[in-house]
Amino acid sequence: MKLLDVEIAENKMIANGIYLLSFESEYLANAFKPGNFVNILVEKDSIYPLLRRPFSISFVKENKVFIGYKVVGRGTQILSQKKKGDTINVLGPLGNSFLVDRFDGKVAVVGGGVGIFPLLSLCHELKKARNEVDVFLGFRSRSDLFFVEEFKEVSDNLFISTDDGSIGYKGNAVEVFKTKIEEENYKVAFSCGPKPMLSALKSLNLTFKCYISLEEKMACGIGACLCCSIKGKDGNMLHVCSDGPVFDIMEVEI
C-alpha cells in the first residue's frame, strides 16, 4: 500500500456515463491482485468532495492501471473531467483479493452494473489458471453496455442480460445464472454488483462456494475509522475495506 501521485494517461467515456481512466504505475501494476481497490483523491485541497473515493482496479496492462467508473455524484463528475496529464493522488492497492486457483470444474462469474468492473481481471486470471469460465453480466439497458468484447476474450460463455430486454436476456444476471446451475457443474462462483443482486444470489443457497465483493461507504479505506463495518455470520464485525471487499457469501450478513 502506497500513496502515489500519478499522471492520467487516458480518461474516456466508454458507454453511457461510464468512463475508463488509466495511469502508469509500475508499483501498483505489480502489487495488484484481482479484487483490490484504490482510494482516489479526485481534487487536492477540496472540501467538497472531501473524502477519497474508492474504485476497483478493473485490470492492469504492463505498467498501466485501468479503472472503470460510473458518474453518479460530485466526486465521479469531477473525475470524469480530468484530462490526460492531470495528476491525481491514489492510495493503494487496498483490500483483499479474489481466490484464484485451478478449480476442478466450471467457474461462474456474475456481475451487475458497476460491479462488473473488478471482474474483468478476475476472469483473466481464472483463464490463466486454465479454468472454464462462464460469465453472466447484467446491465440496465443496451446503451449501458461496456467491456463486452474484453469479457468475450476471457470467458468460455458470455451471457448478457438487460433489465429492459433491449439486448440479451430480459432480466438480471442472477436469474440467467440460476437457469444454468442445474445443467452445469459449477465448482465456484464469484460475484460483484448491487446489494439486491447479492442477496438474490445468497437466497439461491448454492451448494458450491460463492465469493462476493461488497461495497460500503468508506472514509479511510484501511481499517482505521470503522465506518465500513458489516456483520459476519457469528455477529463479529468485519470491515469491507480491510477484511474485504471480497467475502465468502455465507460468512457475511447481506
Partner: protein, 299 residues
C-alpha cells in the same frame, strides 16, 4: 521548539491523532511513521467489546462528514493484550480514550488502564451511543462527578473530552477543571443530520450522527477561545484541522496541543506537513516555541 507539556507529560510535538480516526495505529503504520506524532489517542475503548451501530454509518456533507460508528471496539482487555504492545513500540505518547455507560464503568476503565498508558482521555461527548457519552457530558454536574471519581483512581493525567452540543461549553470546562482534570480536549463531533431527497430517508441509519471536518472548524476555534478565558488547565483543540494554518489558529485561540482526525482519511501525510508548517511558521514569525503561540491572539 515543538515540545509541549501537559501535566508533566512531555509531547515532543503538539500533534495528536484524534480518537476514532486512527484506530489503534496499526493500520496507518503501514503508510506513515507513527513516530511523527506527539501523541496518539486511541479508538474509544469500553469495558466490553462493542459492535457499534448499523449501516450506513457515514455520509459526506458540504465540508465534512457525519459518522455514527457508535464506539465499535474490542473491549479493554483485548486492547491491552493485542493493541497496546504494538503501539508501545513507537516514540509517541499513548492516550487511551475511554467510554463508560455509567460512572462505575468510567472508574473501572481508568483503574485498569492508567498503569499502561501515558494519559487517559475521558470521552464525555460521544454523540453516537444511547447511554453514557454525550448524555453525561452535557451536564456540568455529571462532568464534575465523573472527572473527580476517575481522577481519584488514576495514576496518570486525565484529559476530559467535551461536547460542543451545549449552549455554553465553558460550563463543562469549568466543571472538569474544578474536579481536578489535568487538561480538557475539545471539540467532539457536532450532532448533525442529512437527508437523501430522492429516497426521503436519512443518510445515516441512526438518523443523526456526529459532524467532523473543515465545516466545524470555526465553531471549534471559538470554543477553544472561550474555554481559554475561563480555565487554567491546558486545552487540546480539534475540529476540522486540515493543515498547519488551521493548527496555528487553534494555538492562537488557546490550545496547547491539537488533534487531527478527519484529515487523516483525506491526507495520511497531514501529520508531517502540519509539523513542518508549524516549524516554519514559528521561524518566520520569530517565535521560539509553540508555547509562545498559545492564546497569543491580538484582539
Amino acid at each position: 521548539m515543538l515540545e509541549v507539556e501537559i501535566s508533566g507529560v512531555k509531547l515532543k510535538n503538539p500533534i495528536i491523532a484524534a480518537s476514532g480516526t486512527f484506530g489503534f495505529g496499526r493500520e496507518f503504520s503501514r503508510l506513515i511513521d507513527l513516530n511523527l506524532f506527539g501523541g496518539i489517542s486511541t479508538k474509544g475503548i469500553t469495558l466490553k467489546k462493542r459492535a457499534g451501530n448499523p449501516q450506513p454509518r457515514l455520509c459526506e456533507v458540504y465540508g465534512g462528514i457525519i459518522n455514527s460508528v457508535g464506539l465499535e471496539n474490542p473491549g479493554v482487555e483485548a486492547f491491552i493484550k493485542e493493541e497496546l504492545p504494538f503501539l508501545r513500540r513507537f516514540d509517541t505518547k499513548i492516550i487511551a480514550n475511554i467510554n463508560g455507560f455509567n460512572k462505575e464503568e468510567f472508574i473501572e476503565l481508568a483503574k485498569i488502564l492508567s498503569p499502561f498508558v501515558d494519559m487517559i482521555e475521558v470521552n464525555l461527548s460521544c454523540p453516537n451511543v444511547k447511554e453514557g457519552g454525550m448524555i453525561f457530558g452535557k451536564d456540568p454536574n455529571r462532568v464534575y462527578e465523573i472527572t473527580r471519581e476517575v481522577k481519584k483512581v488514576s495514576s496518570c493525567p486525565i484529559i476530559v473530552k467535551l461536547t460542543p452540543n451545549v449552549t455554553d461549553i465553558t460550563e463543562l470546562a469549568k466543571a472538569a477543571e474544578k474536579a481536578g482534570a489535568d487538561a480538557i480536549s475539545l471539540i467532539n463531533t457536532i450532532s448533525a443530520m442529512a437527508i437523501d431527497i430522492e429516497t426521503r430517508r436519512p443518510l445515516i441509519k441512526m438518523v443523526t450522527g456526529g459532524l467532523s471536518g473543515p465545516a466545524i472548524k470555526p465553531i471549534a476555534v471559538r470554543m477553544v477561545y472561550e474555554c481559554f478565558q475561563k480555565v487554567n488547565i491546558p486545552i487540546i483543540g480539534m475540529g476540522g484541522i486540515m493543515n498547519y494554518k488551521d493548527a496555528i489558529e487553534f494555538f492562537l485561540a488557546g490550545a496547547t496541543a491539537i488533534q487531527i482526525g478527519t484529515v487523516n482519511f483525506v491526507n495520511p501525510n497531514a501529520v508531517s506537513e502540519i509539523k513542518e508548517g508549524i516549524e516554519n511558521y514559528l521561524k518566520d514569525h520569530g517565535f521560539e516555541s509553540v508555547k509562545d503561540l498559545v492564546g497569543n491572539i491580538i484582539i
